[in-house]
């Protein structure tokens, strides 16, 4: 299993950019990197997925260096409603056949302060 390591918690202020880094030293060639967000009493929600370099969507950016042993989720101008747990997952796409089990880890508790 591709093990991931994230900071347990982070604090930020409204309007700031937040970067959460995930380490995944034993990532395999066919593995993708996916980030989820989870609010209390809700299931996780997909944020972004990438394989290499940079991916951007309407809510976040994902930066992946060439060696792919880490990745950074970037949230621009956070608001109080971005307070949540953020999970980094590494695993193979199910469409590629025998998907490797996706392991969530303990995640990073982001607290956005006013």
């Amino acid at each position: 299993l591709a093990k991931t390591t994230q900071p347990i918690s982070m604090d930020s202020y409204e309007g700031q950019e937040v970067n959460i880094t995930c380490s995944h030293n034993n990532i395999a060639t066919n593995d993708y990197i996916t980030w989820y967000q989870q609010f209390p009493s809700q299931g996780p929600r997909f944020i972004i997925q990438g394989y290499k370099t940079k991916v951007t969507n309407e809510v976040a950016s994902l930066f992946i260096p060439a060696d792919r042993k880490s990745s950074t989720l970037s949230l621009p101008r956070v608001s109080l409603s971005d307070t949540a747990v953020y999970y980094c997952l590494v695993g193979r796409s199910v469409s590629s056949g025998s998907a490797r089990q996706l392991t969530f880890g303990s995640g990073t508790q982001l607290t956005v302060l006013p």
Partner: protein, 116 residues
């Protein structure tokens, strides 16, 4: 479009009693997942279905847990008998299983189980 539906949302039972959770995935999603989430921890995969076939159940405690996905749509997760340590949130998720975003998982709200 309706999301993943789970019921019940909350369940309180005494130990040694049976319990069942139900999940209705997003229409057209071939892949269905059951997770267990303990307080302060990330979700842990219990079982993954591709249509009606359980393709990954290595983490399912088969002595007391069972699951089924008849006709490849709805799924039921059962615990019999329940133990105190089974108190957790049980999450169901689904994904298309094919195409570009094959493994983007959509989660239901979960069922919070309390075993007394």
């Amino acid at each position: 479009e309706a999301g993943v539906v789970q019921s019940p949302r909350y369940k309180i039972i005494e130990k040694k009693q049976p319990v069942a959770f139900w999940c209705n995935p997003i229409s057209g999603h071939n892949t269905l997942y059951w997770y267990l989430q303990n307080l302060g921890q990330g979700p842990e995969l219990l079982i993954r279905y591709e249509n009606e076939e359980a393709v990954d159940d290595s983490q399912l405690p088969k002595d007391r847990f069972s699951a089924e996905r008849l006709k490849g749509v709805d799924s039921t997760l059962k615990i019999q008998p329940a133990e105190l340590g089974d108190s957790a949130v049980y999450l169901c998720a689904s994904s298309t299983g094919t195409g570009r975003n094959a493994d983007t998982q959509y989660f239901g709200p979960g069922t919070r189980l309390t075993v007394l």
